[in-house]
């Protein structure tokens, strides 16, 4: 009998701990499919963040390192410098990458460090129970912005792709989403592209994946995906923000 669908080799059999309706599972799968498709499983090393994806080291079947909060790009830099022929990726959330790890993110990008960064933006700190993130939308109610994010006192969300695109160095930056079949297909291509760039030695690639958090947003999974479309994507427009292959 022909196998028409199976779990990627780059994923282990460990059951995921993610909440019902969370899109981390989809994004894990897309990363794993890219690793499988490119035949790089045996020479890939992943770096897990602190946050909801902290246990990603149990889910990806390549060698894995668990980094301190926000430090994944620095750890990945060390791994890549030590092993230039290995494929190094980080998998980080918005608090990890855009708040406590902003310096590591910006500087890995400006060095055009030859790594792949998967940035999951769900506009909230999920693991700690739903606090305001650097990417929480204006007015968004969270545990630490119970009256809604007041931009007058805590400022505006950080648009990571736009920010990093102001740097000269980074090779490839794209924002995608996983709230619809069409968007998932686009995300798959983008993530694969980010790994291909590294294999070709092009440098820093970051894929921001606009994601949902039904549990901490207080929504059903479907409502959360709808909110991604109605509220998140208008604030975080999808698209390619930097593609140096198009620059002569």
């Amino acid at each position: 009998m022909a196998v028409v669908f199976s779990k990627p080799k780059a994923l282990t059999d460990a059951p995921l701990h993610y909440c019902p309706g969370c899109t981390h599972g989809i994004i894990h799968r897309l990363v794993a499919e890219a690793i499988d498709d490119l035949g790089i499983l045996g020479r890939t090393v992943g770096v897990a963040p602190v946050g909801c994806a902290v246990m990603a080291y149990d889910y990806f079947s390549c060698d894995m390192v668990e980094a301190a909060h926000g430090r994944a790009p620095a750890v990945a830099t060390g791994l890549k410098r030590a092993m230039p022929d290995r494929i190094i990726f980080t998998y980080q959330g918005d608090g990890d990458l855009a708040s406590i790890g902003m310096a590591e993110t910006v500087h890995a990008a400006t060095r055009n460090e030859n790594i792949t960064v998967i940035f999951v933006n769900n506009a909230i700190y999920g693991m700690t129970g739903g606090q305001m993130a650097p990417t929480s939308l204006p007015g968004q109610v969270t545990q630490t912005s119970p009256y809604g994010r007041d931009v007058k006192t805590v400022g505006y969300p950080i648009k990571v792709c736009e920010l990093l695109s102001a740097l000269d160095a980074p090779y490839y930056i794209q924002r995608v989403a996983v709230n619809s079949v069409k968007h998932v297909a686009e995300a798959k291509k983008a993530i694969r592209r980010a790994f291909e760039n590294q294999i070709e030695g092009r440098g820093f690639s970051l894929i921001e994946v606009v994601s949902s958090c039904p549990t901490n947003w207080g929504m059903t999974p479907q409502k959360a995906l709808d909110w991604v479309e109605s509220d998140m994507i208008p604030y975080y427009p999808l698209g390619v923000y930097r593609d140096k292959s198009k620059e002569a």
């Binding site: 770096v47 902290v54 894995m64 668990e66 301190a68 620095a74 410098r81």
Partner: protein, 353 residues
């Protein structure tokens, strides 16, 4: 081999390269910048990595990455910068990763000053970051030891799968002395089957991690680590004894304080006072037995420090409070003179501690 004249900081850098370290990450801070400058010149010529990180925090995490790959890595800094590295050092300890951290100490707390100090003794020997852990802490007292103990620090870190620290001070870092450089090795003496070098589809994946959410498992990890620390304490204590055979007064000092103390001891001997020195070379593990043995015959101890009385606690613990222990110290970047130490010895000789 012929000796060369080198600055202490440069001796660390050259010795690290000769120990097979090809990955250095740092951030500028006085008085250790010569290490980074030396690495910046040499590493590109030998296929190594010199990277000026965006912060001390990033530098130690880059070290964490290289160490995860099973390669020798180091970072260096001075006191305020080493405080910033503590998060990463705790993670190195929690993930059982070998690496070298150099602290060329300056006065503190806060921004402090840029002159020599030993006031990071507690931070270095008692943990420094969060959680139960130790570093192997080596304290050089000469430019020769800057080189020799750098190699030793890498070897011990690899052997016991734990980070090590070279706890120097601004004086030894900045001064020049003749040094015989160590032999070159590639640093691959210890097998590292745990390293994340890619599975090559031939083995289960390796995971470098310090997170254990099940308390029973985390307790076991801590207990296992402390069993390993016991072996380090049994096997790796290093110290120098100077004129202790017949000593009535035992000075305990490390690094630059030990050199000043030797002059004072010579002067005391000329005055007929039987003084001697125990110089810890490993601050952790501390030479507890040597101190305890000395306690059986001396009148008392003097802890000579460039701090407000930090090592003195370890001396008291080692000798079980059987004999008095005096403190002779200068701080803030000041160094005790031989006369000050001699005065403390004479006082002790009179039974005043």
């Amino acid at each position: 081999m012929a000796k060369v004249l080198m600055k202490g900081n440069e001796a660390i850098a050259e010795a690290a390269i000769r120990a097979g370290c090809r990955h250095y990450f740092g951030y500028p801070i006085t008085p250790q910048t010569e290490i980074a400058a030396y690495m910046a010149k040499r590493m590109p010529k030998i296929g190594g990595t010199f990277l000026q990180a965006e912060s001390e925090i990033s530098a130690i995490n880059m070290v964490y990455g290289v160490a995860s790959a099973g390669r020798r890595a180091m970072t260096s800094s001075s006191s305020p910068g080493v405080s910033l590295k503590q998060e990463g050092i705790s993670y190195l300890a929690g993930s059982d990763l070998p690496a070298l951290i150099v602290n060329v100490q300056r006065g503190g707390p806060g921004l402090g000053g840029i002159q020599p100090s030993q006031s990071d003794y507690f931070q270095a020997t008692k943990g420094g970051g969060h959680g139960d852990y130790h570093l192997i802490v080596l304290a050089p007292a000469s430019v020769q030891e800057m080189a020799d103990l750098t190699v030793k620090a890498f070897d011990l870190a690899d052997k016991y799968r734990m980070p090590s620290m070279l706890l120097a001070d601004g004086t030894i870092g900045q001064m020049m002395e003749p040094v015989e450089l160590p032999e070159e090795t590639d640093g691959s003496g210890v097998e590292k089957p745990w390293a994340v070098t890619g599975t090559e589809n031939k083995r289960e994946h390796n995971i470098i991690n310090s997170l254990y959410l099940v308390p029973e498992q985390l307790e076991v990890k801590n207990l296992e680590r402390y069993e390993r620390y016991k072996i380090v304490e049994q096997n790796e204590v290093m110290y120098e004894e100077y004129m202790t055979e017949d000593a009535d007064i035992c000075v305990v000092a490390f690094g630059i304080a030990a050199r000043v103390s030797k002059n004072a001891i010579t002067a005391a001997r000329e005055k007929g006072i039987k003084a001697g020195l125990i110089r810890p070379i490993t601050l952790w593990p501390f030479p507890t037995e040597a101190i305890a043995k000395a306690a059986e015959k001396v009148k008392g101890f003097i802890s000579v420090e460039l701090s407000m009385g930090q090592m003195i606690d370890d001396i008291k613990l080692a000798e079980g409070c059987k004999k008095p222990v005096a403190l002779c110290s200068r701080v803030g970047g000041m160094i005790p003179s031989p006369e000050q130490v001699l005065a403390a010895i004479e006082k002790a000789e009179r039974g005043e501690f």
